[in-house]
């Protein structure tokens, strides 16, 4: 072993190059995801405009400016808002009904073993079945109209939500379950105050997936309806304008579908996420 003397150093308190320095405005701007994505969107819109002008065929690809113009005109005439309101109200009805049935099914599955088996079997069968495939059958059962659309919407929402909620309940930490039991909670408040918040990350995933399925299904269903009926949702709006060869209006309709999808995903679900699972540290 080597004998060494003990060493002591003075710690300096000044003379460092940078200890803490605010970032420049440009650096902060570039760190902001929203700013970067907005810039990308602007570039894409510019590319679209250039391509459409170069192509010079508004029946195939209208320019970006023509699409925006058609969008404003359709909004001003009230046709597009009417279609959007119709679609949204239909979607909310179907979504709410789907959630209610999913809640019942999950409650049954949580309470009994046979209920769990039932839920697993039904989900395994119906989850891979695209809802739109049920539309012909729905038309036979419920006729043309809201009934059929709501039926396929329920199918779109139900399985994703029930499956995720049930899986979430199952994966709730056993420690939280024991903590809940320790307080002598009743069955109902045990579910409401331990299981649901504990499973919230999965429940939220189910809600998002259910919403996305329902939105796609609804637009597709309205396109089919467009062939035979006059119920006027966004899908119908797109279908009708295509028949009239108003392609800029078709693009405007598609843009509206995209905008609604983005708004729900980024405003509603993101807000719920940042106020719940992110704040609780249950999701990175």
């Amino acid at each position: 072993m080597v004998e060494r003397t003990e060493l002591f150093h003075e710690v300096s308190t000044a003379g460092f190059d940078v200890v803490e320095k605010p970032l420049s405005a440009w650096e902060k701007l570039y760190d902001n995801g929203a700013v970067r994505k907005t810039a990308l969107l602007a570039i894409l819109a510019g590319a679209w405009e250039l391509y459409a002008r170069w192509l010079g065929n508004p029946l195939l690809v209208p320019t970006f400016s023509a699409t925006v113009g058609a969008l404003f005109a359709s909004v001003a005439s009230g046709a597009l808002p009417r279609a959007a309101v119709y679609t949204i109200s239909m979607l909310l009805k179907g979504y709410a009904a789907g959630l209610a049935i999913a809640a019942l099914l999950t409650a049954f599955a949580t309470g009994t073993r046979i209920g769990a088996d039932l839920l697993e079997t039904l989900t395994a069968m119906f989850n891979p079945l695209p809802s739109i495939a049920l539309l012909p059958l729905a038309l036979v059962w419920f006729g043309l109209g809201a009934g059929s659309v709501i039926f396929v919407l329920i199918h779109a929402v139900l399985w994703a939500v029930a499956l995720n909620t049930f899986a979430g309940f199952r994966s709730v930490s056993p420690t939280w379950k024991m903590v809940g039991q320790n307080y002598g909670l009743s069955r109902a408040s045990y579910i409401a105050r331990i299981l649901i918040p504990g499973a919230f990350p999965s429940i939220l995933t189910g809600l998002k997936v259910g919403w996305a399925f329902a939105w796609r299904t609804l637009i597709a269903a309205e396109l089919v309806f467009g062939v035979s009926s006059g119920s006027g949702g966004l899908g119908w709006f797109i279908f009708e304008r295509k028949n009239q060869l108003l392609i800029a209006d078709v693009f405007a309709g598609l843009l509206t579908v995209i905008l609604f999808g983005l708004a729900v995903e980024n405003l509603i679900f993101k807000t719920i996420e940042s106020r719940t699972v992110r704040r609780w540290g249950m999701q990175a």
Binding site: S173, T175, W176, N182, Y183, G184, R193, I194, W280, G281
Partner: protein, 258 residues
Amino acid sequence: MVPLLSVEGVTLRYRTRDHLVTATYRVSFNLFQSDRFVVLGPSGCGKSTLLKAVGGYIQPTEGRIRLNTTNITGPGPDRVFVFQEFDQLLPWKTVKENIVFALTASGKLPRPQAEERAVHYIAKVNLTEFALSYPHTLSGGMKQRVAIARAMAMEPQILLMDEPFAALDALTRAKMQEELLQLWEETKFTVLFVTHSIPEAIRVGNRVLLMSAHPGQVRAEVNSRGADVPDASGKALSARIHELLFGEGTQQGVANHG
């Protein structure tokens, strides 16, 4: 004197996928008011299972567990658990709300009084400035202190602690043991404390139950005065415990560690 908790000839069995396991076999002991009763044993001696049985999560297959002469039939707020896991706090509630929820959900106190008591116990574990923080922002030691505050705020007849410091680093662990003893000095609660660490058992307990493994049986019950001091025969308490748990052969090893 009537014991606060009496465990009489308790055999615990549980089922795994392909075995029926006997965790403890005819274990008996008594807890009195203000005891710091430690159950010490190697892993596999069924000490955690035993604690869960006292908590009411498992029913004994033989024998009985009585609290104040009443048989324990299920979990209840008169016996509050502190677990080893850091995730025992509900992550969707702040530190304060975790304690308030415990008090209101169990029907111990209405909300205003519950909040007052929560503030009081948070101060006791020196976390006042973190009262409004969510658990995921706290360190492991702080989480365990909240869990202890939450359990103490319930003012249960017995605190059940299942290796609450086992997942902490050695320095934090020693500090938490001191804090627990300090809290005990102030309120003289009764605690049933499970550990596999001999020094922790000696430090925390006034009475230590030694259990052998596979299945867990009572080997001895010894007294501790909080320090590892030699008895009349000149043997240190830790050495005696080691001998009782692992037999004569391994005594040399302990002596070497001093």
